[in-house]
Symmetry: C2
Subunit: 187 residues, 2 copies
């Protein structure tokens, strides 16, 4: 039931927003009384935190896999982009909640999630830096470059349509080429 509640909450927090979705809404859909929810979660925030924590954990784990198993700066960055895009197109609801409902967390929980997010971004920034040092990437502020890449990939969660006429792989291909080579035809 705890898992069921979580997946209902993901659906409803995504659809209506955390504050617009009540404990009753979740209970109704689970077919239990709202008071029964408090057996599984001490309060509403813990339910939100559980979702955010799991999502960030999974994302960070997938990044760790890549940095330990793939060699070469450019290949690493390509794999990271592919992974980030896949993750955000596959788990659209969770990542949209992660991006818009952090204000629903109290201070400690917020800190914990922000630290995970910072760790993730920092690892990518280090790879960009490495590429600049190795002379394969153009020397531009790594913080800004990282933000640009991460945010554009993250936002696929908001517009990607699994039933649309473009597959995830086609989008990954376009994004990768755009990031590495840009828009313009070189003379």
């Amino acid at each position: 039931m705890k898992d069921k509640l979580k997946s209902i909450a993901i659906q409803l927090f995504y659809q209506k927003g955390y504050h617009a979705c009540s404990i009753s809404n979740i209970a109704d859909r689970a077919g239990i009384q709202k008071s029964s929810i408090y057996y599984h979660y001490i309060n509403k925030e813990e339910l939100l935190y559980d979702i955010l924590k799991e999502t960030m954990d999974d994302l960070n784990k997938s990044l760790h896999e890549i940095t330990t198993n793939i060699e070469g700066t450019e290949e690493q960055l390509k794999a990271i982009i592919r992974n980030h895009l896949n993750f955000h197109m596959e788990r659209q609801k969770e990542v949209i909640i992660s991006d818009s409902e952090l204000r629903g967390l109290t201070a400690d929980n917020l800190r914990s999630i922000l630290r995970m997010r910072d760790d993730y971004d920092k690892k990518i920034k280090e790879i960009i830096k490495k590429g600049i040092d190795e002379g394969i990437f153009i020397n531009r502020d790594p913080r800004v470059v990282t933000n640009a890449i991460v945010t554009m990939c993250t936002q696929t969660s908001t517009w990607f349509n699994p039933l649309g006429n473009l597959s995830k792989d086609e989008i990954i291909d376009i994004y990768t080429k755009m990031i590495f080579d840009g828009l313009k035809i070189k003379k």
Copy 2:
């Protein structure tokens, strides 16, 4: 007072989120009773809609200025990117509300805002298409390319720090170069 209420609402909707911010919160900060708000706005949603509408209006106007006053596909796209970035770094609160609180709108109001947003995106897509036809941009799905560019620029609203050590112009410069030429040093 109506303007004052709007600017307080922008601040609070941004900080706490639309549903987490009550009419009382806004009234308190304005130094009036909550019932007095209903003299200016018929309900809470109209206040949200007023903010979103004005923001989208301003954004669309600025885009129209560019497409009528600037010649050349590449120069137009550069100006659009510069404008979009400037707008999103200058009006961070409003655009973040625009991006996260659409669910607070009822059907008619939502349709109206979405149409404005679609118009905006469509104009950019047309310019990308034109650049492809003219042989200056690489032939990739214009919808995807537009989304990539627009979303990465929009998200500066979430991380740009006006007090940070990078100016808006420096960020615009980096973004423009990344979009047109990518990350990699060409051999």
